[in-house]
Amino acid sequence: MLPDVRDRLPGMAPKSASMKGFYRQKKSTKSTASKNVSTKKSPNLPMPYDSDITQPAALISHGSLDLKDSYKEDEQILGRFDMNMAYGPCLGMSRQARWERALKLGLNPPEEIESILKRGKVGSVCLWEGRV
């Protein structure tokens, strides 16, 4: 049975003449799909260390688990580089620029950081960039 259009449209007088019926709100009965938490995150941001739920479905479906592991390791190394206070604050500059600054100031940053950054597939800025 089709619902009466007068019940749906806001301005029209309802079938029942009482005011209670006029203001009665109807809940939308659409079925809601289970929301995926990861849809908000852009794939470019580095993932937190130990969570699997945020992996985009495509990556898992292709079964490239090796990629995931080295990606996590690289991110861990870079995260430690970010947090190392000997190289100064990490916010407001790209990781590459921070590494180059450390080199220029004679702080001897490890070269493997630069090679990881050159390899790509890692975040160009630290985890907190734009969030703090």
Binding site: G88, P89, R101, L105
Partner: protein
């Protein structure tokens, strides 16, 4: 005035090198960084300079960072000073609840006897105590090394302090026989309501050699360079704050710059000229100030002798190194610390090896990421600041390296716009030229330097 003199007096020439590269913002882009980056760079650079000095100062005392100080154990810490000032104006005062407590008059000096110093490095910060270090002599942003130990109350008791000291200096070139002069002037304030245009004309005539007898012209021919250190125009502030400008107001804003352009054209036709921006000039606010745009000077910029320079400005003429600003750095030091006179503040900046330690705390500054351009890497032979109340000069002699540097500050103000400063390149001689001196032989007694 002899016009068609058969023997012309040629102007002396001198080689000029600009050393302004660190002060010009070239490839920097703003990526949302904060000032912590410039403080980090400053601490790293100055700490690297201080480390070898510290080991020769107190060889047997260990160096540790702020977190490593222990009770009763003597150690050396290197870090940045922060001065907590009760009267320092803060943007948050507007929102504080006790609004009635804030004074209505704005003090020019923000010092208070309750100010205290804090030492900070990457690991932490510690309050400084003891009577050795006087907070009134220091400002936020200076990097020093301190000898002391942690007291029972938790603060760091200071027994001795080591500053970076005067940087090394390149050898002064050997004295040549020739006399060459560099003229430095500031505070022209063209467009000021009380200024007399004849005074600017007198300055131009003297420098270009149109004034005086053969002897005066000979002296003018020895001037090889002119540097204008800021505050060249004065645009009425009331006009700048208006929302809608009438066409008459628009031309009134442009008038001072046009007049300055005409003056500079006459000068640039005769000798090389550097113009620096100052606090009142149409340039950006934060240091390092960008050079004044060449479009502001349509006729003088066509000369290759016209050079628009940043503030601070560093250059070298015939081997003599000059470094100077339009005065903002020293004026800021005067507001937040105590000293006998401006020369003492200038000497302190040289000993701290930093042109503007209060930047970016109380002095506007660009948020550099990987360097601090205000570090004084090598000691200049002449260190100048413009736009001060009076003229003064002092010779500072270094210690072991055996060098000397002359610092001076020049008078500004509309009252004495013709106070120019002559620096003799070969010897340390200098003298102050006033428009009075240039008036011999001419019936211009009514022009007074008030």
């Amino acid at each position: 005035m002899e016009v068609d003199s058969p023997d012309k007096i040629p102007r002396k020439q001198a080689s000029y090198h600009s050393l302004d590269e660190p002060f010009v913002i070239q490839k920097e882009t703003y990526g949302g960084q904060q000032y912590s980056q410039i403080y980090f760079a400053r601490l790293q650079l100055l700490r690297a300079l201080l480390r070898p000095l510290v080991t020769s100062w107190k060889p047997h005392v260990p160096i540790c960072n702020v977190l490593g100080i222990e009770r009763g154990k003597e150690c050396i810490v290197v870090g940045t000073l922060y001065k907590h000032m009760k009267l320092k104006p803060s943007v948050l005062d507007e929102y504080s609840k006790e609004r009635s407590a804030t004074p209505i008059t704005i003090p020019h000096k923000f010092m208070h006897q309750d100010d205290y110093l804090v030492l900070e490095d990457e690991s932490g910060r510690v309050k400084l105590g003891g009577s050795f270090l006087l907070p009134s002599q220091y400002v936020t942003g200076v990097v020093v090394s301190l000898l002391g130990s942690e007291a029972d109350a938790g603060y760091f008791h200071v027994d001795d302090v080591l500053e970076a000291g005067l940087p090394s200096q390149l050898e002064m070139p050997l004295k040549s026989g020739e006399n060459k002069y560099v003229v430095l002037i500031s505070g022209l304030n063209v467009g000021n309501s009380t200024s007399n245009p004849l005074q600017y004309q007198l300055l131009v005539d003297h420098i270009t050699g149109h004034l005086g007898d053969k002897q005066a012209q000979g002296m003018a021919a020895q001037i090889v360079h002119l540097v204008i250190a800021g505050n060249s125009v004065e645009i009425p502030h009331g006009l700048l704050n208006k929302q809608n400008l009438a066409s008459t107001d628009q031309s009134r804003i442009a008038e001072p710059i046009k007049e300055l352009d005409m003056i500079l054209t006459e000068i640039a036709a005769g000798l090389p000229l550097d113009i620096m921006p100052g606090p009142n000039d149409p340039a950006n606010f934060s240091l390092p100030q960008k050079p004044l745009n060449r479009c502001l000077f349509p006729s003088s910029a066509t000369y290759n002798t016209f050079r628009s320079c940043p503030n601070p400005h560093s250059f070298e003429i015939d081997g003599v190194k000059f470094l100077g600003t339009s005065g903002q750095n020293i004026d800021d030091l005067e507001k937040y610390s105590e000293g006998r006179d401006k020369l003492e503040f200038m000497e302190r900046t040289l000993r701290w090896r930093h042109l503007a330690p209060t930047a970016p705390n109380t002095l506007g500054c660009y948020p550099f990421i990987d360097t601090d351009p205000f570090l004084i890497k090598s000691c200049p032979h002449v260190y100048f600041i413009g736009n001060q109340e009076k003229y003064d000069t002092k010779l500072i002699k270094g210690t072991a390296e055996g060098f000397s540097s002359r610092g001076y500050y020049k008078a500004a103000s509309a009252k004495t716009p013709q106070l120019s400063w002559y620096w003799h390149l070969s010897s340390w001689a200098h003298h102050m030229g006033t428009s009075r001196n240039m008036m011999y032989g001419m019936a211009l007694g009514s022009l007074q330097c008030s």
